[in-house]
């Protein structure tokens, strides 16, 4: 092949130039983290670090990074650095860079220079076209470093010269008086530029070509995964941080300090007093709590699961094992998918209009359970069906060849093999319904801040009566509260401000934290169950 470059089979130890590229990736990563921290106000951009203003520091780092990457690219082009570039950086990179530079050019022309539509349009097209040409036409080492590096240098220069400083505001001039301020703009620009430069630096580190692209893509994929984990972690950490003071308010340990509980006629006192989860809201409480809502949420989920899982798994068994595959199963599939996509408020309205009048004509725990059960049902059907379809037909054949009937095969082979998948579906569904507010609002919500005496006691509520159906449970037909509903009304309606809750802000965050813990607790139970069944199926 003419012109094909042969690269070395074994690359030597890290060269100095590679170390420079690796350092650039590292600095870019630090800059990215720093800008994220600034975005979430963990770092203030008005601060000074060692006498240098934060914004200037960010700008200087950006310039340094940009120059480093551009230098690497140019050095590679001039032959000072041994790399293995392709003839062009490729169309995707070219389109991406031209888009970015189009926006940059347009913003500078219209906002900073104050040109009109024609003026900024022209400038934007010129810069975008230039970026496209610079990316697509020269060799890959120039094409993938120059546009990224120059952008970083440009952004850095804007920060260092104070064109965008801590006091900068871009008023959009809309009726709603929306504006971008420096606290948002500077971190976002920094994060974006450092991301671009780190991609260019990673490609340089890989020596461009196939290996360079691999390293560049690897970096982007990793950053993506890290930012997802970071967002999750941040969300949980934020809630925990805000919720902990309220949650552990006047908690105490010791024999007999807790409330008394009677189980099977035997009364004992808890060795732990935890007012927030053991109290309701009442005038005379020292510390108010959310016990009724916790109990309501747990009973809701249990009721919905008890209602939906047998029905859903049964339907899935019928569809996969008994029904002829054809029009009917297709219709059922479309119907379940549609049901799963139905907004929860519609389920709530159905519950209000259909279930509530039939269940004692008042909002009740049972109506809430059934409504959420209806919501859970389609997901259980879908995932159970998938799980059963994934059970190999060889198992069914082997069982049939042993003379075992279809139902026995389903019960002892298909269902156990499908169980981990079914449990996964239930976990996902419970995660959705446990935090659902709208249906509860319409079907079961009672008082916003119920006192501890209104905690539902479903087990204790069963009573035998002398007339059919011989058993009744008034607890099930009572309106009660649930955590998401309580949180919703505490935040939006301002309800409870006037009641005896002392520190409403703390109370809200603690409620949110408890809701998170309860939902994650259900998750943990589900995952443990799935792990148990999966272990049974595998040969470990």
């Amino acid at each position: 092949m003419a012109g094909a470059v042969e690269s070395e089979l074994v690359s030597e130890d890290t060269s100095e130039t590679e170390a420079v590229a690796a350092a650039a990736v590292g600095v870019a990563a630090i800059l990215f983290a720093l800008s994220l921290a600034a975005l979430f106000e963990l770092v203030t951009i008005t601060d000074t670090v060692a006498g240098i203003p934060m914004v200037a520091l960010l700008g200087a780092l950006l310039i340094l990074l940009g120059l480093g990457v551009v230098g690497f690219g140019v050095g590679s082009r001039l032959g000072y650095v041994a790399t293995n570039p392709r003839p062009s950086a490729g169309l995707v990179a070219a389109v991406a860079f031209s888009g970015i530079w189009f926006v940059v050019g347009g913003l500078v022309a219209s906002q900073t220079l104050g040109l009109g539509t024609i003026g900024w349009g022209g400038v934007a097209f010129v810069t975008g076209g230039l970026a496209f040409a610079v990316t697509a036409l020269p060799r890959e080492d120039i094409g993938s470093t120059l546009p990224a590096g120059l952008l970083a240098v440009f952004a850095g220069a804007v920060f260092v010269t104070g064109l965008i400083g801590p006091g900068w505001v871009w008023d959009l001039g809309w009726e709603q008086s929306a504006s971008f301020n420096a606290e948002f703009t500077i971190p976002v620009i920094t994060a974006f530029c450092s991301l671009l430069v780190s991609w260019g630096a990673a490609k340089s580190y890989g020596g461009f070509g196939a290996r360079g692209r691999h390293v560049g893509a690897y970096l982007l994929v990793y950053l993506n995964a890290l930012s997802i984990i970071a967002v999750l972690f941040l969300l949980v950490a934020f809630t925990v941080f805000k919720g902990l003071p309220g949650l552990f308010n006047s908690i105490s340990f010791g024999l007999g300090v807790g409330p008394e509980t009677t189980l099977f006629g035997f009364t004992f006192a808890w060795p732990l007093s935890w007012p927030f989860v053991m109290n309701g809201v009442a005038l005379l409480n020292d510390v108010n709590g959310v016990l009724p809502a916790i109990a309501g949420t747990i009973w809701l989920v249990i009721g919905a699961v008890l209602f939906a899982v047998p029905l859903g798994v049964g339907a899935a068994v019928f569809i996969t094992e008994y029904a002829e595959h054809g029009r009917f199963t297709q219709v059922v599939e479309i119907a379940t998918n549609g049901l799963w996509s139905t907004p929860s408020i519609v389920f709530g309205l159905f519950g209000l209009a259909f279930l509530v009048p039939r269940l004692g004509n008042g909002k009740s725990l049972l109506a809430g359970m059934l409504t959420l059960g209806f919501m859970l049902l389609p997901l259980v059907v879908i995932t159970s069906r998938e799980a059963m379809l994934a059970v190999p037909d060889e198992y069914r054949d082997a069982s049939a060849a042993l003379g075992v009937t279809k139902w026995q095969t389903i019960r002892s082979i298909v269902l156990p093999a499908a169980l981990p998948g079914i449990v996964t579906g239930i976990i996902l569904g419970v995660g959705r319904i446990a935090g659902e507010t709208a249906p509860i609002l319409l079907t079961m919500a009672g008082s916003v801040a119920p006192p501890g005496s209104q905690t539902v006691d479903v087990i204790g509520g069963f009573r035998f009566i002398s007339s059919p159906p011989f058993v009744e449970n008034p607890e099930l037909l009572q309106a009660t509260s649930a955590l998401p509903y309580q949180l919703y009304s505490l935040i939006t309606a301002g309800v409870g401000q006037s009641s005896s809750i002392a520190n409403i802000e703390q109370f809200r965050w603690a409620t949110a934290l408890i809701l998170l813990v309860v939902v994650l607790g259900f998750y943990a139970v589900g995952i443990a169950t799935r792990y148990y069944f999966r272990r049974k199926l595998q040969h470990e």
Binding site: P392, E394, Y395, R396, D397, A398, S399, A400, A401, L402, G403, V404, T405, Q408, S412, I413, P416, A417, K536, L537, Q538, H539, E540
Partner: protein, 316 residues
Amino acid sequence: MTETTQSTDTDQAAESAQTSDIEMQGSGQPLEVTAGETREKTRDEWTDYEFEGDAKFAVEDLDVYYGDDHALKGVSMDIPENSVTALIGPSGCGKSTFLRCLNRMNDRIKAASVDGTVELDGEGIYQDGINLVELRKRVGMVFQSPNPFPKSIRDNISYGPRKHGDLETGFLANLLGRSDDEEVEELVERSLTQAALWDEVKDRLDDNALGLSGGQQQRLCIARALATEPDVLLMDEPASALDPIATSKIEDLVHELSEHYTVVIVTHNMQQAARISDQTAVFLTGGELVEYGDTEQVFEDPESQRVEDYISGKFG
């Protein structure tokens, strides 16, 4: 090859000219050649096989259709009991289809329809009122790829008898004192010993069967089929996914089993058929049973030219 394809277009002149040199070789009838396979008309006497003792299966004019596809054409054969019968032939010739007709596993394929009679010990298995559970208890089956259940080795073996209600285990049986745990242990040991697997797994009967090697899994499947105490064992290429050592173990096993069981085995491997079987049935393209007889005779001196071509490796 162009000449030969012309001859299939029923061009009489070309046919006689072109087939003259291979005429009279085997069966003494005019022959034509298509794609390496000799064309000839199958004669009934090639599939007549006289044997002493009773026939376990008597198959008469068996036709199988998959939709419009005529997969088996008028197959008739008697299978003697306590012997090994090998079914050989190229891919798609219907040998597996024939095997699956013997325990009505073809019922599980919706498009399949079966015509003709199959008698097990003189009773037609395609008549109304047949008890499929009882049929499949008597006629066990081992599949091409090992398919143990994702359960413990013990549970795999005892699965059939437990589901048939012959053995009772579990919590309630324990509580009522009806538990057959000892019988289960005996059954597991007996079946695994018969399948030559006992020594390898006796210390880990509670381990998951999927942890066994491929050859062990296949022997476990044989043991599982034997646990229901069948009269007949159908095997659909049981060694095709196994290495030579595991294959030879399975072959030895088949040989031993033939003392007490009627074994019908489908195989792709002609040497294997020659080694282990007492009689061999050759199915060829188109779903026809072409020749059936004593293994030695079929392999040494086949009556059909097509069978000879197939056995000597000219096609298939």
